[in-house]
């Protein structure tokens, strides 16, 4: 009985999937779990997985909230590019004070979120269309800011956001962790999480409850924009340059996938940030497995999609019910 309770817990399947993928890593390369402490920071494949997950994790935090309201934010990859372009150009100008650059980056994210939020909540445009506008236009804006070039910069303190370390951990990991904790606390230690879930589950009933559905929807796009700005700064700092064409390209899809792997419904309603984070790790750990197994790179996408399909199928209520039915029938015959 306790076993079934454990298996029905919503953390069970995502954690099991992650564990299996990590196990596969161990088989492929026995040194996968080796951690080294050198020059004041940890090194190892696990740290590498965490570090590479950070940008996607940042995007997925905002995406979780947006998806919980029944929306979607396709523009976050483009916001990564705009933020990178703005920061890189500022660092090359005379306004290169750290706080100024970071504030400008965050403002860009907030502005992008406000554009998305107003299109969705004030003008009532379907989220997928509203954010598609900025997804396309955003890269164009970033290219304009960069004048069509890849803008590089020399600024060790800004680069530290991408390559530095804090308490022995890569700074992107620490940043993602802080944003995660902040948002998770805001959601679960105030009533914000409940209100967002209510709006996504039944917007009409939420209006009858006196909730301001429009403001809540506007708010989640703003959070998503700010999260994307953080991710944009991490990516830009990592390569010490802003590539308007490739920074954060297709990353919005990974973020959406992570939210879905965490068991959220695109129709809105329940969300769980911890589960989303596990989803992010599943995606990144798998990419690492494929690279470390020495398989030809041309198989990467195929294997990745097959594994994701399996995880999603295992979470599908319809399939679970059928599997249970099969087990039941077998039990009856025995």
């Amino acid at each position: 009985m306790q076993m079934t309770n454990l298996m029905q817990h919503r953390l069970f399947l995502p954690l099991l999937a992650l564990a299996l993928i990590l196990l596969a890593n161990l088989v492929v390369s026995p040194e996968f779990f080796h951690l080294q402490f050198k020059d004041g920071r940890f090194y190892g494949s696990l740290i590498d997985v965490l570090n590479r997950s950070a940008p996607c994790a940042l995007l997925a935090i905002g995406m979780s909230l947006v998806i919980a309201t029944g929306g979607i934010d396709l523009s976050v990859g483009a916001v990564v590019a705009i933020t990178g372009a703005v920061c890189a150009n500022l660092l090359n100008s005379s306004f290169d004070a750290m706080f100024l650059v970071i504030a400008a980056g965050l403002l860009v994210g907030l502005a992008a979120g406000m554009v998305n939020g107003s299109l969705v909540s004030i003008f009532g445009i379907q989220p997928i269309v509203a954010t598609l506008v900025l997804m396309v236009a955003g890269r164009g804006i970033a290219q304009l800011i960069n004048s069509g070039q890849i803008v590089t910069f020399q600024n060790q303190s800004f680069a530290a956001i991408g390559v530095g370390s804090i308490f022995g951990l890569p700074s992107p990991v620490v940043l993602a962790l802080l944003v995660f904790l902040l948002v998770q606390l805001a959601m679960r230690f105030t009533a914000l999480g409940l209100f967002i879930e209510a709006c996504g589950s039944n917007p009409r009933a939420s209006h009858y409850l006196g909730l301001n559905v429009r403001v809540i929807k506007f708010f989640v796009y703003c959070v998503s924009g700010i999260c994307a700005a953080f991710a944009g700064m991490v990516i830009t700092a990592d390569i010490q340059g802003a590539d308007a064409n490739n920074a954060g390209l297709w990353l919005e899809l990974d973020a959406i996938l992570a939210v879905v792997l965490g068991g959220a419904s695109l129709a809105g309603g329940r969300f769980s940030l911890p589960l989303t984070m596990i989803g992010v790790l599943i995606i990144q750990a798998m990419s690492t497995t494929i690279i470390m197994s020495g398989m030809e790179p041309k198989y990467n996408l195929l294997i990745k999609s097959v594994v994701i399909l399996i995880v999603l199928l295992l979470q599908s209520p319809a399939l679970r019910q059928q599997l249970r039915g099969l087990a039941f029938a077998r039990g009856n015959k025995a």
Partner: protein, 501 residues
């Protein structure tokens, strides 16, 4: 009536869900040429039993025999092939296809693999004529009223298989004339030898239409009776398992309309939703009934008070102070609460839990930055569950898993937690069982005695008469008559609704 032989014979049907017994050893016999009512409170096991018959659920025990041969329907399609069709409360046809196509969906007349559209249209028209329904079968199903859609669903069911037709709450969304049309058709079908099983909450309909009835309670069969030989009181006590206490009317005298300190006063109120020149006032502890036919403006008055529609003319005063509702949030801040008519779309927030659904209005009132502690929430939920006798094994269950009556009580509990001054109930007893019905009426009285002002819109005159001390009869979005105090009676209200302009 044709021969009294059983078409459908159920023996010892059992069905369990996760260890909970939903249907326990039920025997039932459905005869050719009879209309058989299946009655019971919500949660009595009616729906489960029907789903077993129609193959949605596989029974855990028992036999289903159709005309003497045992069958095991695997799914509704399979049941239909055996000759058992079901029409549900919500029309489950395709609104974006034509009426004709809906009638023959999945069994279109074909020649060389191509659908014969002409023949399909001709057949559909002929089929509907048999049901006294003369409509253009080429129009989309969605262009017709729910009643017509329901009749189309029944026509399809009967045409697919004329042996057994099961109707689950078919009249919930129909008006009186449409119900009469439906009943005529059912009587015709019965006389042609079809066995009809009817699930309904309306006892009038049971006595009007059915030959025999079976009562279920807590998953078990109480008994099968000949309708004409079973007095109404006996039927109700079978359904509830206890004698329904006759509710004595303790009506307070109505207060005068001109009182400046009235808890709520409407003067010449018109709203964007069409109600015009409404005047009335209510004191603390008043129960105001809103009567009238569907579309007469009952719900619109509720919506205007709650800030859902904008006020175009006139004024509202609360305790003498002017009040101009801007939004539900504003209305709630002024002490209003509204239990909406359509529980599913406007009331419950599924898949959130019962607990969250209860505390969310209070939480919304407090604002997001002042969350209710979990221990407070649990205390409030436990109190409300006990006070309203909500049947719910675990408050962490998604609210959608509760029965209709319990969902309604959760919505009531939600608003009572906000300590409203004025509680508006729009059709509070629609689609819920008799037990919950009586409890909600008792609650309305208790709240009035505590000094709350209630405004109740309902299509059930009997229930309005039972608790109101003033009844406003609406017609054509206007207030036609106000009946107060000792003048209130069912006949007076009926006369006011029926009276010509």
């Amino acid at each position: 009536m044709s021969a009294q032989h059983a078409v459908l014979q159920l023996t010892g049907i059992c069905k369990r869900f996760k260890g909970v017994v939903a249907v326990n050893g039920v025997d039932l016999e459905l005869r050719a040429g009879e209309i058989h009512a299946l009655l019971g409170e919500n949660g009595a096991g009616k729906s489960t039993l029907i789903k077993v018959i129609t193959g949605v659920y596989a029974p855990d025990g028992g036999r289903i025999e159709l005309a003497g041969t045992a069958i095991q329907p695997q799914n509704p399609m399979d049941a239909q092939k055996h000759g058992i069709s079901t029409v549900y409360q919500e029309v489950n046809l395709l609104p974006n296809l034509s009426v004709a196509h809906n009638l023959y969906l999945g069994r279109e007349p074909r020649r060389f693999g191509c659908i014969q559209w002409r023949k399909l249209q001709r057949d559909a028209t002929a089929l509907l004529r048999r049901f006294n329904l003369d409509i253009d079968v080429n129009e989309l199903l969605s262009s017709y009223s729910i009643a017509v859609q329901q009749l189309v669903a029944i026509a399809r069911a009967v045409d697919c298989s004329a042996k057994v037709v099961i109707l689950d709450e078919p009249t919930a969304s129909l008006d009186a004339r449409e119900v009469e049309l439906l009943f005529q058709i059912l009587r015709t079908l019965r006389d042609q030898g079809t066995a009809i099983m009817l699930v309904t909450h309306f006892l009038d309909q049971v006595y009007d239409l059915t030959d025999r009835l079976t009562v279920m309670r807590n998953g078990e069969k109480v008994g099968t009776f000949v309708t004409a030989e079973l007095p109404r009181e006996a039927l109700i006590s079978h359904m509830l398992g206890k004698e329904l206490q006759a509710m004595e009317a303790t009506r307070q005298p109505a207060h005068s309309d001109s009182d400046e300190t009235a808890a709520l006063q409407l003067r010449e109120l018109s709203s964007s939703n069409g109600i015009r020149n409404i005047n009335f006032s209510a004191q603390r502890g008043d129960a105001i009934g809103l009567a009238g036919l569907l579309g007469s403006g009952r719900s619109e008055v509720c919506a205007a008070l709650f800030g859902l529609d904008s006020i175009s003319q006139g004024e509202i005063r609360l305790g003498g102070q002017p009040y101009q509702p801007k939004s539900p949030a504003h209305a709630i801040a002024q002490g209003f609460a509204l239990c909406p008519e359509d529980r599913k779309t406007d009331g419950i927030v599924h898949p959130l839990s019962v607990r969250e659904n209860m505390i969310i209005a209070r939480q919304a009132q407090r604002g997001w930055w002042r969350p209710l502690r979990r221990s407070e929430q649990d205390k409030l939920v436990a109190e409300a569950t006990a006070r309203l006798k909500i049947v719910c094994s675990d408050p962490e269950k998604p609210i959608g898993e509760l029965s209709g009556g319990n969902q309604q009580k959760v919505i009531l509990a939600r608003w009572l937690m906000t300590n409203p001054q004025i509680l508006i109930l729009d059709e509070p007893t629609r689609g819920i069982d008799i037990g919950a019905h009586a409890e909600i009426l008792q609650l309305i009285r208790k709240l009035c005695a505590e000094g709350m002002t209630l405004i109740v819109a309902s299509s059930e005159i009997e229930e309005l008469v039972a608790f109101s001390n003033k009844i406003l009869v609406m017609r054509d979005k206007r207030l036609s008559t106000t009946i107060a105090g000792e003048d209130i009676s069912e006949n007076a209200v009926l006369a006011a609704i029926a009276e010509p302009d």
